[in-house]
Amino acid sequence: MSEVKYLTEFYHLNEFQGLEGYKKNGGYVQLERAFKMKPEEITEEVKKSGLRGRGGAGFATGVKWGFLPKNGEPRYLLCNADEGEPGTFKDRMMMERAPHQLIEGMIISAYAIGAKKSYIYIRGEYDYPIACVVKAIKEAYAAGLLGKNILGSGFDHEMDVYAGAGAYICGEETGMISSLEGLKGQPKLKPPFPAIQGYLKKPTIVNNVETLAAVKYIIRDGAQGFRKYGTEKSAGSKLFSLSGNIVKPGNYEVPLGYSLKDMIFNLGGGMKPGRKLKAVIPGGSSAPVLNAEEVDRATLDYECLASMGTMLGSGAIIVIDDSQCMVDMLGVLTHFYHHESCGQCTPCREGTGWLNKIVHSILEGRGRLQDIDLLLKVADNMKGRTICALSDAAALPVLSFVSKFRDEFEFFVREGRSKVKGTNYAQMHH
């Protein structure tokens, strides 16, 4: 069992696939087939397929769609292309190489949920991917694939792109809705969930790029066909972004349930000469870290990683070798979460600041032994107490780094230098 080619079926072409190239390779055939189905049949098929949100939370897509009110109230489809989770670069590749894949999946999904308008919210730094998606949408309009009465189906749909402006929190679905409404990208209290009250207080479905693109393959292969790969609870294939200290970083599509060890040592080409695997963050920077022994046992599916106390998240696998100092790496992460906290909930706004200060005081040689337990205590107090999951996302790496690599933290406090690097923070970074 190795790489599979669904979402990545066009990537070998290595360049932007416009409408012509996409159609030559079977593009928009599934849209025509979808229009022959009733919208509720599509939703049912997506439910049966077991497709789960590929952006990070892993919520069942069909179930999410099912939360929409059954009346004819206007609703929106919002594609989450904010891709801010450190380590993740899979959606960017799809937008750059095969944006029509996303657009086709979106029109099918919009038809299923009855949305006449959709937005693709793309992070502002993605200048080139934005240009690619804008170009593809223009092509789709010109070909009658967007607009009024698409392909004679009687279904109307308008699609537009919205560029963010640099805020990790806008990847959180209600933060994204706030941002699209022209506000600060601060998350909103749930309930009401977006499916009931989202963009402009109208029912809104927010799905990740990869999730929406996958819908096309559920139409093509049916729910059972989609389940050919994956496990009972983690159906289908998924894109994984492999990065860090690894020979062949990149995006890989494998069936869910694939071995993490094979991902790293076969597809990823293993460790650099003379280096050993020390740790892996399996699902983006918010996912608790695994040590080398745990990596041996892990498979890339929602249930296995959850049972090991971590998560599949966005599928960003960050590989850390034995030349790295875990205290130093945690400092990178605490800095990030402190910078990105939107500031509206006290435990997160203050907690992320304290975590960052404490880790940096250890790094700068001012740490005390009790600071290590203080980190755990602060992190513990940040969990489950805020409007959105950023606070938890900041706490989880701290808890896992400190509990699994405590010796490195204690050494740094006692000696004022890194156990791995042998030097202090200033020497490490100047």
Partner: protein
């Protein structure tokens, strides 16, 4: 006093008509104005946008301050943003940022003496498989070494 060009003004008007909610035009309009104001947003810019968009300054200001892509101070002709988040940090992103600062003789966030460069450290730009990397204005440069990065920057006119 800052004023949008006539093209800028018509672009802002287009954004105002583009979305269901008028406020949705704030972010796109800030981009348009920032481009016309040498890469940053001054109080003048907010004041002018407020007038042409008929949206209170406080609202525009709040949005402007929330997002990192809007610069609160003047930046160089080339804004060099080096990713130092985890995947890049593992592959030398922080060392690259230090090297560029040293070579350009500038501190993080400051302008070089000739006003051409500003160097910043930024969070994840979604270029983790091609680390280390930098973004110069709108463009990504990936798989960098200290040498290749400096060659790219020195080649900028």
């Amino acid at each position: 006093m800052f004023q949008l060009s006539s093209e800028g003004l018509s672009a802002v008007k287009k954004e105002l008509a583009r979305y269901e909610a008028k406020d949705s035009a704030i972010i796109p309009s800030l981009y348009i104005a920032q481009k016309e104001n040498k890469g940053w947003i001054s109080n003048d810019v907010i004041h002018h946008l407020s007038r042409v968009m008929e949206i209170p300054e406080s609202k525009i200001s709040e949005v402007f301050q929330f997002y990192t892509m809007f610069n609160q101070q003047p930046v160089g002709q080339y804004h060099v943003q080096v990713c130092t988040n985890i995947s890049c940090a593992l592959e030398g992103g922080r060392e690259l940022a230090n090297h560029i600062c040293k070579e350009l003789k500038v501190k993080l966030g400051d302008l070089t003496e000739d006003g051409r460069f500003t160097v910043s450290r930024v969070e994840c730009l979604g270029s983790c498989g091609t680390a280390p990397m930098m973004q110069v204005n709108d463009k990504y440069y990936e798989n960098l070494t200290n040498e290749s990065a400096m060659n790219i920057l020195r080649g900028m006119k």
